[in-house]
């Protein structure tokens, strides 16, 4: 049928000589059959709706196609091998993205085609996935002590942004108090959610000092800044500097007294050893999901969650998808369905609660697998391992001449190391570490100039005693 096959492509159908592995109908003959069935002369005719002067008048200028899977793989491998990974190097980077062990089963389940490739089906054809989502929410609920948990959002910062907007709608107030110790990336995200001052619905972000001796929120400064204008106090524990906010219950009490909501941000991997935020007064809990069985993926592992009490005051402000257990028509059989979907942007467009869309739902399943593997003992064990290993590292590093650990107690997995006494900037220290295949802690000087030449070190369950000693040895040489 391809009587007019040109050198490159058939003029009628555009078919090029060999069928493409991703396109079943690129095989010769099929397009002709379909054209015949609809009575069209050529594929070009089918684009009749697009005016001539809208059309691109030349072929696309793209790099040459690599149709061979083997050649494509080689090209990708050749390129990604230019990276130096945290597996090949010894990394102490943290700050919103953390290297934890990812159990093999998390990857196995997240790679299942049934979970990996699709979008939506029906409650019955999506039953397994819906149950996995419900198990995500249920297990997060146990960790944070809350009964109402939404499906995940893009990141911790996005969760915090939505939570602040929820609090603003609930209280009718337009100000949020946040400690200065917040992760600067997270704050940058929150700033966008709170809108610039020109906007009518702008939410003022007032920063509260942190205690320079402890790294914890300064309660006196909080008291001086909170008022009846405050919609929410939003703190993270552990905070960006690694510090457990041990006066969080006081923060919540101060907020409550002023009619403000308390938003607590958590790293859920800490919750086998740290108190559930519901137990010290949280109204809205947010946090990251990345440590729960998701690779760092160069930051692409980020994910966030929002949890509250099962109270309509909160429930009716959720922007997220919500999955509820319910019955089917068969007695004794349960299923799952979307709840309160009408209040999302899918249901109400601009009148919906903020917006929702694709998020990180595949990772919610990997998170569910992770939490189930861990159980209560696993979370206790990993929490203790992290806290012991990080404190051991801090102790070793503090002994090195010229180096100080700024907040030497009350931290979880990250701590601040100050190099002022060495006379060297963090950049020089980290360059020296790099030569030893070590990624030192991230510099804090840009966002926390008051901390001097300081770096944020992260130690998790993956770091052995030998790893920490190797770091200490390398630092000892680097500061000389």
């Amino acid at each position: 049928m391809q009587s007019r096959t040109s050198k490159r492509a058939n003029a009628v159908t555009g078919t090029i000589p060999s069928a493409h592995p991703y396109m079943a109908n690129s095989v010769p003959g099929i397009k002709e059959q379909m054209l015949k069935a609809i009575g069209a002369r050529s594929i070009e005719d089918l684009f009749e709706q697009i005016p001539r002067d809208h059309r691109l008048r030349r072929p696309l200028d793209l790099p040459e196609a690599i149709r061979s899977e083997s050649a494509l793989r080689r090209h990708l491998l050749d390129t990604i091998r230019k990276n130096g990974s945290c597996e090949e190097n010894l990394s102490f980077l943290g700050g919103g993205c953390w290297q934890h062990y990812v159990p093999a089963i998390c990857d196995e389940i997240a790679q299942r085609s049934e979970f990996l490739t699709p979008v939506w089906g029906t409650p019955s054809s999506d039953h397994g996935r819906n149950q996995a989502w419900f198990e995500f929410s249920s297990q997060i609920g146990e960790l944070v002590g809350m009964d109402f948990v939404g499906l995940p959002v893009y990141s911790w910062g996005c969760a915090a942004g939505h939570a602040i907007r929820m609090a603003s709608r609930i209280t009718g107030r337009r100000e949020v108090l946040i400690p200065r110790s917040i992760d600067p990336e997270r704050l940058a995200v929150i700033r966008n959610y709170c809108e610039p001052s020109e906007m009518a619905s702008h939410i003022v972000i007032a920063l509260v000092d942190f205690d320079p001796r402890t790294g914890r929120i300064d309660l006196a400064d909080l008291k001086s800044k909170i008022s009846l204008r405050t919609a929410a106090v939003s703190i993270d524990s552990p905070n960006y500097l690694g510090i457990i906010e041990s006066e969080a219950a006081d923060v919540a009490a101060i907020a409550r007294k002023n009619g403000a909501e308390t938003i607590i941000g958590v790293d859920p991997i800490s919750l086998g050893v740290l108190a559930a935020p519901a137990d010290y007064g949280a109204d809205i809990v947010v946090g990251t999901t990345q440590p729960l069985g998701i690779h760092m993926n160069c930051g692409g592992g980020a994910g966030g969650f929002i949890a509250t009490r099962d109270d309509e005051k909160y429930a009716r402000e959720y922007p997220t998808l919500l999955i509820s257990i319910t019955d089917t028509v068969k007695s004794g059989e349960y299923g799952f369905g979307l709840s309160l979907a009408h209040q999302t942007s899918y249901g109400l467009r601009e009148k919906g609660k903020d917006w929702t869309g694709n998020s990180v739902y595949l990772w919610a399943i990997a998170n569910a697998v992770y939490m189930a593997l861990m159980g209560p003992e696993g979370f206790r064990e990993i929490g203790e391992a992290i806290i012991q290993r990080s404190h051991y590292a801090a102790a070793l590093l503090a002994r090195i001449p010229g180096m100080r650990v700024l907040f030497p107690s009350g931290f979880f997995k990250e701590f601040v190391v100050n190099f002022d006494g060495t006379g060297k900037p963090v950049s020089a220290i980290n360059a020296a570490l790099r030569a030893q295949k070590i990624f030192g802690g991230g510099t804090l000087s840009k966002h926390f100039p008051a901390l001097g030449e300081s770096a944020l070190y992260c130690v998790t369950e993956i770091h052995t005693k030998d790893d920490v000693e190797r770091l200490a040895d390398a630092l000892r040489r680097a500061v000389r």
Partner: protein, 520 residues
Amino acid sequence: MADDTKLRRYHAAVWDEPIIMTMGHPGRRGLVFAEAEPEIKRTLGTDAQSLIPAAMRRKTPPALPEMSEHEVLRHYLHLSQETLGMLGINLFGTCTMKYNPRVNEAVTMRPEVAELHPHQDEDTLQGVLEIIHRFDLILRELSGMDQFVFQAAGGADAAYTHACLTRAYHAAKGELAQRNEIITTIQTHPCNPATAATAGFNVVTLMLEENGYPSLDALKAAVSTRTAALMINNPDDMGIYNPEIKEWVRIVHEAGGLCFYDHANFNGVMGKLRARELGFDACMFMLHKTFGAPKGGGGPAVGAYGCSAALAKFLPSPVVTFDGSLYHLDDDRPQSLGKVREFWGNVPQVIKAYAWARAMGADGINEASDISVLANNYMEKKLLAIRGVSKSNPQVKKWRMEMTRYSLGTMKEETGIGVLDVQNRMVDFGVDAFWLSHEPWIVPEPFTPEAGELWSKEDIDYWIAVLERISQEAYANPEIVRTAPHNQAIHKLKTDALEDPRRWAMTWRAFKKKTAKARR
């Protein structure tokens, strides 16, 4: 028509799988961690608990399941089997179901991607930065834009990026307080008005007129000195292309607004037109849709956002740049809108999309849009021959683009069977349910299939045959459709509890409390 297509005898896996919160046995373990070495304990001189401030120690362990490793694996494998998940045929409109090449999964699972930290030194990230930059160049060629960023974690997040960029642009001109309106159309995806509103703008929505799109007069009446931007898709989900779009852009520009092209429906126009040449200032591509990265049941996703050189200074930070020998992360951009999400994007998804674009090449991408539009019109011809099926805007006689919106309004009137019933019945044949329509429904009982370039003609014929069978059932034996599904993991859902605060339960702990209360 599809009479010679034999429908499969299909039944989904039924595992009757318990909720994981009810499984396991006290003391069972799925994962254990090495205890701290004796040297660590000696150095610390205290136990782990005493390193935690007393007020913040956990008193009651979380009530999580206690299971062996294999039990957890088997449970989630069962759940995966109780998910149809595109193992049959899935023509889910607006989502452009594609093959997700597994070689890309294998490559991005490697530690050279999975175990990267976004704050590593640039020289240890040259591989990913190179791919991001090369893919940026590919998207520039496809759109005519001058710079892309990948921070937005989905199409909606890219729309939000545009709303934030619009703020930054007008703020820089000192006009933000005055320009507080974003114009969109009723057929543009809900994320556009929703993100515009979240960013603080008032939304002006234009309704469709006779030709299937809003009129120029309506647009002219809507623009003013308050206009901040236009956010629009084209073609829309009915497969109708607005041929006046260049004039739209001109009018909005003249009023001082920015124009954003939501390329949700790019599959039908890939290689056929370029957003910048139509005059748009910015556009968005969904890498998990059009570019072959997997959807994951709703992410991780990427909304690649690109704009003109004039707007590039407002883009979220960082931007990946290339100096001719090395790649950089440029974070020193004082006019940047800041961040819409931490870090710089779902990097593995960008790599997968790059790999897809390389595997397709210019000819492949062009052919994919050809096949998509051809397959849609082929499907349309056959679907309209099925009893009870009509299409939206029948007065628009031209060939539709890569999607057509249909209606089962007639079937509903004649049999009582509507699109929700048909969805439930479709999955009895091993094909995924069709997509209906975004809100609001502007035709009764809408559905929107999209054939795309992945599915074979045989697949499309099978899918049509399923719909034909269901139509026959609806007219001859509607009960079988009304009570569907019959061959699925579970039966039809009872939905009344989902909206009832006394009964809804988003977690197992809430469910336990509510059922205990109901029993009392």
